[in-house]
Amino acid sequence: VNESLPIMRIGDTLLVSLQGDLDDSTVMRIETRLTEEVARTHATGTLIDVSGLEVVDSFIARVIARVVGMVRLLGSEAAVVGIQPAVAITLVELGVPMGHLDTALNAEQGMALLARLRAADDTAD
């Protein structure tokens, strides 16, 4: 099983790319690594890039939503980027609730989204 998890740091933002056919234990390891990395780097934003996933079943969808929740608890904004069109159609039909997640078409638009979320946070403070 693939041990490496590509996490890229861009300024205050972490970009993690999920790729290939994930089995359950890989998914769990991603949760651990990413949350540790957010805490270590004090990232204020995290983008979870799922453009490399050709299939997202309800288990993996739930894990993605859970990772977003964990990252937010640490104080970092989080967004899911790059959901493939076929995956989006399938998830809606499957009935997996994903509407509460912040999403963007790609990493670039995700960066802009995070900037807006940070700004909204500052205003609220």
């Binding site: 056919d21 089995d23 359950d24 234990s25 050709e54 299939v55 997202v56 079943d57 309800s58 288990f59 739930r62 493939q84 069109p85 076929a86 995956v87 159609i89 399938t90 039909e93 499957l94 009935g95 997996v96 609730p97």
Partner: protein
């Protein structure tokens, strides 16, 4: 000549692919086999993704609910009225579903999951049938047709 022989053999004996499901890593095999079969049947990308996702849900159901967390998926190419499709059959050795109607309802779960496995996968395919009763094996058959 060789080609002709191969073709005849293939036509006379449709191939059935069998995947045994016992661990979570078998779900990767389930998805890969379904993807390959869907591609061979000429399904479009969205339909491929729906079939693979439905199979992944049903495979996970076996790991979560079946006796000894074991079961089998059998996949084959099917044809009707000039359309091709993929048929996948998921079977386990029990313990069976006490209330099939409830199990087909969104949000119904006996294991604290989202309860989308059966109703969700039913929505993703063109044909769905389930045979089960308390104490007996469960068989779920799904078919996805080419558009």
């Amino acid at each position: 000549m060789t080609q002709l022989t191969e073709f005849t053999a293939k036509a006379a004996q449709p191939e059935e692919v069998v995947v045994s499901i016992a661990t979570e890593s078998d779900l990767i095999q389930v998805r890969q086999v379904l993807r390959a079969q869907a591609d061979e049947a000429g399904l479009g990308l969205v339909d491929q993704t729906k079939l693979v996702t439905a199979g992944s849900e049903l495979g996970r159901n076996i790991l979560t609910h079946a006796k000894d967390s074991r079961g089998v998926m059998r996949v084959e190419q099917v044809r009707t009225q000039g359309r091709s499709g993929v048929r996948a059959e998921f079977t386990d050795e029990g313990p069976g579903i006490d209330d099939v109607d409830a199990a087909l309802t969104d949000g119904y779960s006996t294991k604290g999951s989202l309860g989308l496995g059966l109703p969700g996968s039913k929505r993703l395919v063109d044909e769905f049938s389930i045979a089960s009763a308390g104490g007996s094996p469960t068989t779920v058959v799904i078919i996805k047709w080419q558009r």
